[in-house]
Each structure stands twice: as C-alpha cells, then as structure tokens.
Symmetry: C2
Subunit: 588 residues, 2 copies
C-alpha cells in the first residue's frame, strides 16, 4: 500500500490544502508539515495493523451465535489500536472530546483505512455517519451521552434505514415508534442490511433508526429518526437483537445484520417527521465515503497488478525482445497490459482528486466565514456528490476487474487476493443509493431542479482549467472546451424534453451520470497536468511529474471518447425503453 | 430456465437450421420436428437434473483428500443421467459409437447444460475438446481405446496446457516427454488450472498433455501432444496425481486441479512437435464454448432479474402510479431498470444468434461437400471465433452485473443466487485465451494476416442484412451501412500503421475487438428484426415478434453508439501507451 506520494501530490501540489485551510481561518498549525505527519502516522497504523487483516478477514468472515457477532481474528485488537491512536475523534467538535481537525483530515484517514481494509473501514465509517447526524440534529443530552463515546471510538454507530420491502424507497418503511409515558419512544420493526449492526468491537452500538409515529403522513414525510442504543442509558440491554447475518458476495469482514427491534427503547432525534432530512445528513457523508471506497479498492488492484505486470514473464514484445536474457518479456511490454494499467491509474488519481476537491467544499461549508462562498461550495458539493458516489464506484469496479484481468488465471484464484477486490467492490455500486438513484439525483434534483447551479459553478472551474492548459497543454484545453460548450446545452435539451415527459429523465439519467463523471475527471486531469508541468518547470522529480502528464493525455485521448456513446444514447429519448412491447421483459 | 422459445426463434426462424442442414446433405430426419424433440428432451434433463445443483454446487464446491476429488452432492448422479441419456455421443462419429448428429445439435445441448449449471457443464465440455483433438489427430488405436469411452461418457477428458510459468505463453511449457523402449513416452512435469482434472464422475480421465521431447525446438514449435490416461491401458493407475485444487472466485462445482505427472505413461498424438497445431483443434472448439458460457450465464441473470423487476415494488413511476392499488409500483416501470433489462436481453439474443451462426460455419466445414463453400465457412469461422470468445464473455460479465444491479442490495446476498453468476462468469474473460489474446488473434491473425478474408465475407453478410432492412426497417439499414463503410477502412488504417510499428496492433486490438463485436451483433439484430417482421406479416404471435423489433431498435439506438468511443481510442495510436514515463506503472 503505497499511495502516500500520490495522495500528497493531490493534497499539496494540486489542491494546496495548506492555503485552502488558511483561507478558511484554520489555525496555522494545520500546515503542510502537520498534514504530512498525520498522513505518516495514519499510514503506519493502517498499513501495519489493518492491511494484514484484509485477506484473512475475507476468508474468516463474521459469525453469529446466540445473538452475538464475532468479527474475524485480529479485528478487535485492530479496533483497540484505532481507539488508542485517537483516530475516532480526529474531526469531531472539541466540546464533546473531538480534535476538531478540518474534514479533509477525515478524508485522508478514511482513504488510508479503506485502502488497507474495506470491511474493517466500515465499522468506523458507519460511526462517522451517525456522529454527523447527532452533531447536526441531536439534543445536548444526546450529544453528551452518545456523541462523546462515539468520538472516543468506545462506542460505534449504525444507520438503520432499509427494511425487507423498503430499499431505495425508504418511505415504505414500516418500523413503528410509539410514545411512552416518560417522553421516550418504543421502537418495533425489522431492519435489514445493517452494516456493523452487531459486533464485538465495542461495548455499545448507537443505532440511528428511521421509524413512523402513529398518524404520521405516508411516505418520506412521515419518517422520524430515533437513537436506539444497544445498551440503554441505565446500562440495561435494550431489546434490539441481531436475528441473522447475511452471507454475501464480499466484505465478509463486516457484519451485515438483520436487526429486530422489539419495543426497544428509543429517543427522538430533532423533530418528528423530519427524519428523512436528517437521514440525508448521514447519507451525503456516506455517499462521499462510498465513492472513495471505489478509489481505495482500485488503488489496491493497481498496486497488485502493476507489480505483477513487471514480474510475470509471458511472450515477447511485438517490437522485439525487451528482456533477451529471460525466457520471455515481462507482460508490461504488451500495449494492452499498459492500457489496463493506465486505465486503472487514470481513474484512481482522477477519482482521488475529485474526492479531495469535493471535500474542500465540505471544509468551506463547515468552516467558511463567507456566506456566499459557503453557498457556492454547498451547491457544488450537492452537484458533485452523486458523481462521486455513482461514477467512482462504477469505475472502481471496472478498475479492479482490469487488475484481475492482468493476473489472468491467477487473478481468479483466491491466493493472489485480487478477486476479493472485485467481490468487495460490487456492493459499492448498490449501497447508499444505487447508480440508478445517483443518476436520478444528479439529473433531476441537482441539475434540473436547481436550474444547473452546481453545474454552472463547475463549468466555471473547467473554464479556468482550460485556460491554464491552453498554452502548454493545448490538447487538454481543447477537450475541455468541447465539453464546456456541450454539457450545459445537453442538460437543457433533456430538461426541456422532461417537461413534456418525466420518463425522459430516467431514460437519460445513467448515461448523463457517466457523461458527467468523465467530464469531471477530465477537468481533474487537466488540473493535475497543469500542476505537474509547473513542478517540472521548477525542476523537481522529473519522472514522477512527467508521468502525470502522460496519464492526463491518456485519459483525454482514450477515455474521453467514451462520452460520445453516452451522449448519443441519452439523446435517443425514452421511447426505445418505454414504448416497447412487454414481451421484451418476459423470459419465456 | 426458459430460453427454449428464444432458442427456437434463432434456430428455426432466423437461421433456418432445417434448410441449412438439408443444403449440407444431412439426412432428412434431422428436420424441425426432430430438432424440437431433441431440444425438449435436453431441456427436460438439464432443467430437471442439473439446474437444481447449481447453487448447492457453488456452496459445497469440490474437496480433495488423499488425491481423490469429490464433486458436490448430486453431481455423480446427474452425470450418470447424462450418460444414460446418451448425450455424450450426440455429435461423435458412428464408427466409434457416436450418434453423428451435426455440430449444431452439440451447441443446442451445450447451451442448455451450461444455462442450467456452468460448473457441471465443464466436465462434459472438456471431454468435447479432448474428443475433437482425438478425432482429428489420434491414431486408430487411440480412437478405439479412448474415443469410444469418451463418446459413451464413461470416461471424461481434459486439456493440460498451462504451467505455473506458462499461461498465455504456452511455448514456455517445460513438461518433459522422454521416449521409452516400447515406443511410448514418459511424461514428467506440473500442469495447473486443469479444469475437471480429477473428480469422481468417471472411472478414467483422458488427459491431453502438451510436453517437450528432448532436443525439441524452443517455443511453440517444440511442443508435442500426448494422451496420458489416469488409468493406463493395462488397467494400472498411471502416475498422474492431483496435488491440489484451487480455491477460486467461482465455478466452485468444477475441480480446478494442479496435476503432477511423475514419469507418467503417455502416448504421442500424431507427430512430434505438432502439438501446438493440434491444441488449436481443441482450443477453437473451446473458445466457441466459452463465448456461449457468457450467453448462458447472462440468460440466467435475465430470467432472475426480469422476474424480480416485476415483483419488487419500490417508488412510483415519474409519470404517475402504475399500480395505484399497491404501496409502490413494480420497479419495471423505471426507465433505467428497463434499460438494464433490455441491455441484457439485447446481448443475450444477439450473442445467441452469433453462436449459432458461427456454428453453422462449423457444420459446413465438417459436412459440406463444396470445397469453396467450406473454405468460405472456415475463413468466416476463424474471423468470428475471437469475437465470440472475447466479446461475448465481456458482455456476458456486464450483463450478469446488470442483473445484480436490478436486485439492488438483495443481489449482493448469496440467497438470491445472482451474485454467483458474476463470480462464475469472471473466469470466462480469462480462460482459453484472455480478451487481450482474442483481440490480438482477431486483429493480427484473422484480419491483417489474411488481408481481411473473413471480414470481407462478413461485410457481405452485412450488406445483405442492410438490403433486407432498407425498406421496412430503414434505421437499422442505416446503422449497418455506416459500419460497412467504416470497418474495412479502419482495419486497413491500423494495418498500415502496424507495418511501421507492430505495437500499433496491440494498442488497438481490444478496442478493435469491441468495435467488431458491436458490429457483428448489430448485424445479428438486423437479421432478427427482418425475420420478426416477416413473421408478423404472417400474423403469428404478435407480441413476441414485435418485441424482437423493439430490441433490435434499442440495440441500434443505444448500444451501437458505444462503437464511437472504441473507434476514437484505437485511432489515437500506440504512443499514449508506449511512449510514456515508466513512473506511470509504478505504485509508490
């Protein structure tokens, strides 16, 4: 696991995090040296303690016996190390015991944890979502009791949304909340697919549960949020039990639980019927985190497959032997092996840049003093969130599959470890809102409903990037300029059609998501290339920075053309999906 | 498992198998009624006996103890049913006990077996490759002893090519063959990834082993082929033992073995040093079979996900409730769910048509009396084989992933069964030559080395299809005409660049493979649409045939545009892959 150098390239060179934080009035001690120190420490912990448990955690999985879930060997000790290192409270508010570092630090930590061990990463990951919701909407008493323990890591959290009949459609949730005489609530129902829902890493688990109070409006407007702790305020065991853990395709080290709430003791968060809004506080954070998972797994795949491509000797280069003293050339000489490696890396670094860029918006939103700047950052973040979640997970999956492909038959075998990344990453395209949900969110809510506010901001960023490329990297400027001219027009065209027929949105949305994702990463690569050129001009580490320009050119030349297919497909309209004979969908 | 109707559409309506066989002088008893009877019988066996073992076989897997491999519960009984049904000898020569039906019958059987249970299908599948090689190159004695037992199904076969250091590069094989005084050979070495290499379905296993004799030329020109039976001619146990079985991502029901040959008794097939040529007799058959696996798994995925899309209720249609009496609409109302279903089905039926079309070339090649017709069929088959293998497996994988996506979180859970298709299908992109090998085979060997012979034949077929579409399905004709004009020119353009720099081939080959695959399936869909229109004109089963035209239009409108991205990428040349800084490929 050796992405530190690439992380620093994004964090320092491309995004000037030090300057960015200074502009937000963050304490000057949060400088480059401090960032590097945190990165080094986090790397030491994650690489040393979590990475070695990734494959073994996959093999072992979690087990359930008498309601008790046992995590794979080593997870408990590793989690104790996580607490001891003070990692749980890195970005939380000081008044509840947090260290109050800017959100960007949280992302750095999250990337390193997830690259080391995605299944493990989900335990603290779920706590993060839970803390966010409590910070934003919890009462002072809830913060004092729950948040303080979440910030030490002593307790972990969950998000309990899904029910058997209510997945993407959270509004169908049936879990009931009934008032008790003492002003608290009694929660009854079944939640499924609850990640980290039960385990042996912490003494208590803080469930945030969506439920309906009596007489609540139907659908999403009648959903309330409750804290339901596994161990109640008085130290008694609350009646929430794990009824089963799922056998899954991947992320075996994480317990995915069926949770049965049987008149469990619950505490209302905020106001009744506002649960859906609160949920999005968790959800938006979670979606950025899931997009990052795509990048992290791809990073693992790239490390494995680039190493293998140098070692594995098969066949000769078509232009003549490159390792004449060996029985065959390393497969790295073959153009398509290089293409697969470059595709992985172009996605990883473009995706990483996007994650950190989006996270700068979070920094501004949470810490910025200037209202106008905060608003712009919020609009940009809203726009980018479905792209981070939808596009980076789709490409993450493609990317780990390229890694397997480079390993050939050896990639299909457990031993080499790469097939695990495919199995682990498959869920990222689904949970916290499928690619389909992200597509609808992007096109309908984030573009059409806002009259393209976030898109317009981003086009502004693209114009700046294009201008910076114009002189010395003209081919990159040209690609961006084509997109700048095309993307808003395309959005308006679909928007206009959707006025007459709402299905036009759903018929275009996933292609629109992909189109947008490619466009955003093209912009990130332009920025990276401009940065690399500047560093080269300063005479620093030639090869490393030259490689960034190669990757930018590769992305613009070989990946950007995929946009044409998505553009053409989305412009064909909805009739070829909606006005078809039902026999199309019948298997007989 | 209900693809019989769609199979009949291809076999009878589109490809007129009865007429095709009659044109080859096949006995008139091989008529439509007989084909249907064989299909029905095969369906009864595969659906009844093999399908129920698919999920359980995946869970149980194979086990190795003291050199003995045990297949999952039920596999032995099912295989006995396979023998009892006479399925093993369906297409083999009568003089060795086969039923001598045309190859197309073999494909029908293979499709049904593989759709029911891919891991099981590989046991008879490997036998098929072994039989092919023996029929073509074995001595009379070898045929009498081995082929006769393979044709009853009493024994099974394998292909022993791969060694730890020799995968795609078979020429690196080190397994040694030393002559014995009695004219037979002593085989020593280790083979890996041997599918069906050891198991409990049959008393004997006939290994076809590639090995080097002393003083043989280096590389592929020094490879010879040997029959090495598990039980030797004299009934003694030969010294070939299974050293390990691999833990794999999927196809758990099939034993993937490490085989150790320790001075095992072997019999030369044909001539020394001609093993590579013989291997391709097996390999080409196997490649067509693997392409078919892509279609079969996709069929399973479509059946599952189209059913789920009708039952699963989540959210309302954007155009208003479609099932107002229910808490939500079935997800089939959502445009992108329909898109994913249509993508699956367009691939499946296009892919199936391609498999049967390619197999008609096999029929002609094996049974045609006219030398010119045979030659054309051979050239067409050579050209289509890498497309069948490379493109149909890539799209098969995409397709089963769409099925999982429709299931959402439930798709990631073992219980629903669809994640197994993803794990099973992942190997199809790798074994019998990776997508990368298929790309090179297509562009370098099948197009450039033949001056586009097969391509030219296929363009002829496209022209005919375009002409038939022109009047009533003009939009399909137009797509085809664009490709007809573009594809040969594109091929020549890359060919010309490759003269100056051989790496141009490898840099273009996978994009060229995809481009070609899309073009071929566009042609298949045009033929299917024309056929469906004719049937509609006859007034038969409206909805079913109307749906074929919808799918053809969908494919041409929404899938064909993907070709633009591949075309653009391949035309960017090799420099963006080859003339880049080595740091691009270094993870640090």
């Amino acid at each position: 696991m050796a992405s530190l150098k690439d992380m620093r390239f994004i964090i320092h060179d491309v995004l000037d995090t030090e300057g960015h934080l200074a502009s937000l009035g963050v304490d000057a001690s949060c400088d480059r040296a401090f960032i590097d120190a945190v990165l080094d420490e986090a790397f030491k912990f994650t690489d040393g303690e979590l990475k070695p448990l990734n494959a073994s955690g996959d093999r072992e999985g979690c087990t359930l016996k008498d309601g008790v879930v046992t995590t794979p060997a080593g997870f408990r000790e590793a989690y104790r190390g996580y607490i001891a290192g003070g990692w749980a409270g890195l970005v939380g508010p000081t008044e509840y015991g947090g260290q109050a570092l800017p959100p960007t630090f949280g992302l750095m930590l999250e990337e390193l944890i997830c690259t080391a061990n995605m299944a493990f990463a989900m335990y603290p990951g779920l706590s993060r979502g839970c803390m966010h919701a409590l910070i934003a909407h919890g009462s002072e008493a809830q913060k004092q009791h729950f948040l303080t323990r979440l910030l030490t890591g002593e307790w972990t959290g969950t998000m309990c949304l899904t029910e058997p009949h209510a997945g993407s459609d959270v509004g169908l949730a049936r879990t009931k909340a009934e008032p008790r005489a003492d002003g608290t609530w009694s929660i009854t129902g079944t939640k499924i697919f609850i990640s980290a829902g039960e385990h042996d890493l912490s003494d208590n688990i803080v469930h945030l549960v969506l439920a309906r109070t009596e007489g609540a409006p139907a659908g999403t407007r009648g959903i309330s949020m409750f804290v339901v702790p596994k161990i109640d305020l008085d130290g008694s065991r609350n009646s929430v039990v794990c009824g089963a853990i799922e056998e899954k395709m991947g992320i075996h080290g994480n317990a995915t639980c069926v949770l049965n709430f049987d008149a469990a003791h619950g505490y209302l968060v905020g106001e009744e019927n506002a649960g859906m809004k609160y949920m999005f506080t968790m959800m938006n954070t979670a979606r950025l985190g899931v997009g990052l998972q795509g990048v992290c797994l791809a990073q693992r795949g790239f490390e494995a497959s680039s190493g293998y491509a140098r070692e594995r000797l098969q066949m000769r280069s078509l232009t003549g032997p490159k390792a004449p003293d060996k029985p065959a050339d390393p497969i790295l000489v073959h153009p398509d092996v290089r293409r697969m490696l470059m595709a992985q890396r172009a996605f990883i670094e473009g995706g990483r840049a996007l994650c950190y860029y989006a996270n700068q918006c979070v920094d501004i939103l949470e810490m910025g003093a200037d209202a106008e700047r905060r608003q712009r950052a919020g609009e940009l973040l809203d726009f980018l969130t479905p792209i981070v979640k939808g596009f980076l997970t789709e490409w993450g999956f493609t990317s780990v599959n390229e890694a397997v492909q480079i390993f050939g038959g050896h990639g299909f075998i457990r031993e080499t470890g790469v097939e695990q990344y495919v199995r682990d990453s498959r869920i990222t395209l689904i949970y916290e809102g499928t690619t389909q949900i992200q597509g609808l969110d992007l096109l309908a809510r984030k573009v059409m409903m806002t009259q393209g506010k976030g898109l317009t901001h981003f086009i502004g960023e693209m114009q700046q990037a294009a201008a910076e490329c114009r002189a010395e990297l003209p081919e990159l400027a040209t690609t961006l300029e084509v997109i700048i001219a095309e993307w808003p027009a395309l959005s308006m065209q679909i928007g206009a059609k959707a006025m007459a027929n709402p299905d036009e949105v759903g018929a275009a949305s996933v292609d629109y998501l992909f189109y947008s994702g490619y466009a955003v990463l093209a912009t990130m690569w332009a920025r990276m290339a401009v940065t690399a050129r500047r560093r080269l001009a300063e005479g620093v580490d030639d090869a490393y920075f030259a490689a960034k320009i190669d990757l930018a050119r590769y992305y613009h030349a070989r990946i950007v053309p995929k946009m044409a297919g998505h553009k053409a497909a989305m412009l064909t309209g909805s009739d070829n999906l909606m006005q078809v004979n039902d026999a199309v969908f019948t298997a007989d």
